[in-house]
Symmetry: C2
Subunit: 147 residues, 2 copies
């Protein structure tokens, strides 16, 4: 079932959105990193064994991309998800080949301006977990919502 | 000429690194967004015309990925660029098809811990500009540097 589209007045602080699962293959990890983070520990399992990661590890930016993919599918905003910025990202541990990622996204603040009543700034806290229930990424983002 | 690899003792606060150029095609914008930010204003020029972006706009995460690609090529750290987190990202305006991006990365802080003298936390301020010299992205990142 496609969830119905959400407008500003449908959102409230404390609302939580859960995503479906996303399987991360070694091929996807190396394909992403070759283009956007071309370092050996993200591209080559053998070379990665001798690195701080001790085995192939996804780029943190790849974990971000998968998180955004899952957010788009689980937060159906009527005007789309328009990020204006990020206030924090941390990667407590890297995404690995075979990880199955999912996200939990919580709305933490909704701010409207008297001078611009047609738009709101929404703060969202997104945690990305894998199948072991350990966090791979924490992100605090700011979204622009049009009324 | 490949620059020689930099170690912790080669870094100092205020150092600036400039990248080469990166041409962004419409095809690359739609390919990235289809995988990692599947929203119509990032994937389809016609649909984007009716959006807040008024034309095809790259995902902010795509601008981040290109920035990381350019950072890897312009900051040759001996142990690689290992990001532990991000303290800020802002996108004052989106990357567009035909943009030619480049970055300016400045080291703003180097912190070593008496208990872990073999590693340092380095803060880096990365501005991503296009051919019009206007900023597409500002990012404050934290890197782990091994001695």
């Amino acid at each position: 079932m496609t969830p119905s589209k959400l407008h500003l007045d449908d959102l409230e602080v404390g609302q939580v959105f859960h995503s479906s699962d996303y399987y991360v293959s070694a091929d996807e990890i190396t394909e992403f990193s070759t283009k956007y983070d071309p370092q050996s520990f993200h591209m080559d399992d053998d070379l990665a064994k001798d690195s701080i990661f001790r085995g192939l590890a996804a780029s943190g930016w790849h974990t971000v991309g998968i998180t955004m993919n899952l957010l788009v599918k689980s937060l159906p905003l009527a005007n789309g998800i328009i990020g204006t910025g990020v206030e924090k990202i941390s990667w407590p541990r890297p995404t690995r080949p075979g990880d199955i990622l999912r996200i939990k996204a919580k709305i933490t603040e909704i701010t409207t301006s008297p001078s611009k009543p047609d738009r709101a700034l929404v703060r969202i806290h997104i945690c990305t977990f894998a199948q072991d229930n350990r966090m791979r990424q924490e992100l605090l983002g700011k979204l622009l919502i049009l009324r």
